[in-house]
Symmetry: C2
Amino acid sequence: MKLSKMHLKTLREVPAEAEIPSHILLLRTGMIRKLVSGVYGFMPMGWRSVRKIEEIIRQEMDAAGGEEIHMSAIQPAELWQESGRWEAYGPELWRIKDRNGRDFCLGPTHEEVFTDLIRNDVSSYRQLPVLLYQIQTKYRDEARPRFGLMRSREFIMKDLYSFDADEAGLDISYKAMYDAYDKIFTRCGLTFRPVEADTGAIGGSNSHEFTALSEVGESEIAYCEKCSMAATVERAECVDAKAQDDVDMLPLEEVNTPGTKTIEEVADFLHMDAKETMKALLFVTYDAEGKEDGYVAAFVRGDRDANMIKLVNALGIAEHQIEFADEEKMSAATGCVGGFTGPVGLHDCKIVVDSELPGLKNLCAGACKENYHLKNVNYGRDYKGDIVADIKLLKAGDPCPVCGAPIKHARGIEVGQVFKLGTKYSESMHATYLDENQKEHPLLMGCYGIGVTRTLAAVVEQNHDDNGIIWPMAIAPYHVIVTLVKDNDPVQKEMAEKIYDELEKAGVEVLLDDRKERPGVKFKDADLLGIPVRITVGKLASEGKVEYKLRRDADKEEITAEEAVSRAVEIVNKERRG
Amino acid sequence: MKLSKMHLKTLREVPAEAEIPSHILLLRTGMIRKLVSGVYGFMPMGWRSVRKIEEIIRQEMDAAGGEEIHMSAIQPAELWQESGRWEAYGPELWRIKDRNGRDFCLGPTHEEVFTDLIRNDVSSYRQLPVLLYQIQTKYRDEARPRFGLMRSREFIMKDLYSFDADEAGLDISYKAMYDAYDKIFTRCGLTFRPVEADTGAIGGSNSHEFTALSEVGESEIAYCEKCSMAATVERAECVDAKAQDDVDMLPLEEVNTPGTKTIEEVADFLHMDAKETMKALLFVTYDAEGKEDGYVAAFVRGDRDANMIKLVNALGIAEHQIEFADEEKMSAATGCVGGFTGPVGLHDCKIVVDSELPGLKNLCAGACKENYHLKNVNYGRDYKGDIVADIKLLKAGDPCPVCGAPIKHARGIEVGQVFKLGTKYSESMHATYLDENQKEHPLLMGCYGIGVTRTLAAVVEQNHDDNGIIWPMAIAPYHVIVTLVKDNDPVQKEMAEKIYDELEKAGVEVLLDDRKERPGVKFKDADLLGIPVRITVGKLASEGKVEYKLRRDADKEEITAEEAVSRAVEIVNKERRG
């Protein structure tokens, strides 16, 4: 492709709305274009890279036994009502009506549609397993779309659904997908880590997130360098503090603690460690229709934080069904007192107690009375939980739940997820098969997603420098750029075109920068666009030489045009498959 | 691919909902699956054929200078308000709201989005022309989705938009697309005809529809076998009857014509030819907000029919803004009398007169009085039109507007359209460029669509017999099917697998029917699926022979396995590109 013929508009300035490198660079290279908040279009080069990622995914899905199909984005409400998610999914589900007032949604995911398909098609164990996938546009009406392709409202996803006869079959499908994901993200040039993940609102029994490591990522991972433990912070189990079975309960004692609203303040005031106190978190919850459902007080040890995902899972509700409570209203209803709330004296609210608190003795908690705390609060004697569960956040430095070594934290971008759904959908939607003995069983399902457009952004996030993108060969929009320094110099022009033609003939995807621009502009654009190999045809052309440079390296070399072509062909063929 | 591993469910029965061959066969082969009315999914084989059509389109668009991009399906209302189509488009535009109540639509087409893109990117004549396209999912909330993929609510379309500096440039872009369409539909194996088309609500100056000839098509074409005239019936010009300049006007005469409500009845009763009468058609129109706007009476010669497209164009409104009037209400307001309406005596309504009526003398028309007609009605003396325009339908047998030979009619499926938009969008949306002298001009645009999924259906409509589909090689889901007659016969099995392996190695896309099914079922499915080449491995295997058959031919041949392989490879390589 000749750049003079290409629709390309690069930007020198950093767009005001963009905060993170991938968003900035994808906009500056003109690879993506914002239409409205969270909605992007892909320009020629951006779309080439997206299609290369799609092709890598397609190859690995096919190799792993997947068959590609294509279902619609519009989905009838009836299917979501059957699975129970029409109400449960929350405002991210983009609900629409047709001209007759019938309810539909724009699919954020396709469990219902694929389950419906299979319950009509599959009747016998002989037809199993079935692994179907699609690469298709998805919709999520995000409250806060941000970071460009990282969190957008219309995006491209690969989703595969597996249907097996039994757990053993599901294990095989899950493993096949896990391994395929490993290959896909490796081929895309990502540094990533598969981590155990929460199974959340979608339901199910087992899941891994494939997380591209990046400081700008929205996922927080806890991992252990000693053993192989790696999990999202939401999912990570915590080791409870050792129970103080040998400590005696002391008498409950009310103490005046004027103005000590935070754990730090009260611990300071009473000369205690935060570990000897209890922290209260106050919430209001909503039912499926969005009506207020009641109050919740959650308690963790004073030095801990609550893990909202664990909390909503313990409560059996979805994330959008809980919010921090209005203190004044909650106080009138339950007796809580902002900054001085403890489990003793609370009424008319659900009390959730972290799993380690029952084992700890003589803690300090709020007295539900302005400027007062209670000392020596003990579980069983002074308070009880409606729910006792692990609701605490695993922090860096906490002991690894597997081996006890100190946990490390990292941030990452969730680019893929594999998920054992089990029979959640097949039971609610009656997707069954008959075994050898004509006995009916629900199908065992798995679902496996890859954010295609998010993967593009993650690759840029991990592969750039101050001057622009540094594409891995396998998903670079073009492999080689031939920069013609003086487009009006006949020697340079002839050599540049010859190199361009020869590379094209060799099957290399090559750009020729033949624009009427200053050399500085051309070099800047070549770096910005991040094409892996640059061959510069300038003054040295008269000696038959060019400058050869890999985008990822600082070195440049002056070599003959012939050698540049053969080196380029060699490196492209070596790396193009990823 | 081995059929035993494939997700395939063919149907023996004709699905009740399907009326036309392509719909029946695409459902029976299991290539498509209905989700709800007008919404379909594509199963593995159907999706393969769709992707092959996409690839043919992509190759020809690239060859014609197009660059592929990908814009979102959701489009903000603001852009449609700018172009004026938010109100004008009618209920087919699928309007949606996001969680904040902001208006969007699901794009049925992308003129606004591409114009917006280009007005931000292009400033100089040096950047022109620009030809951008996408292959993308489109939405149209059809009142009556039908015939499967022919008229559905979610479908795949290729749309290219061209941007040129002047008419000469637009002519070149238009011609390049016209020629590319010719190649695309030829490669897809369609019998088609490019016909002049109406430019309708989208506006613009010049258009051709590419119509696949088919009795089930919704487009009616008028064409001339003597000259090259071909146009949609809506668009086709009509030759006015010769003006009767030498005939004298006779005195207006009221005659009693009891019970003669139709043209045939009144002509019979008065012993006249229908050509000597005038036909009235009564309508109500609506404004852009859907409020009643007034009444329209349209008049054509008694033997003619009105052409609704010409009528709405003459009125300057959109198709959904007009309906047949409620006679009783219209009568009260305008004085019309059902069955006895003529132009004399009508009041408070817009009168549209077909262009040939002013030239015709002494016509018979309704008297706007129950059971009475008027004889010798003459334009100018007795009535006038608010609008005089060609609003008549060109019928088979009418003279060709170009050469005068009798016109023929045919039906067809509109699979593509090329369209000169001119400055319609660039003016309303201010998409301009500066010429050599820094003078600003609006861009000249064209738009060029192909219904990808509709093309699939059209190919099936033209290529089938009683037993199933007969795929053209270029878009067949697989090229060859190897039918293993007895899957438990080791000699047959070994030979079938050898042939399968050899074909795969030769790059042929091959199916091996290794299912545990009766031979009759396998033969029926092979015919139904329409794979171009069938190699049957049965009893003759012990002699080293197979049965070789092309789906499109009746003949079968018994030849050696080696010859079958080499013949299959030869025909596949010859025909696969289309």
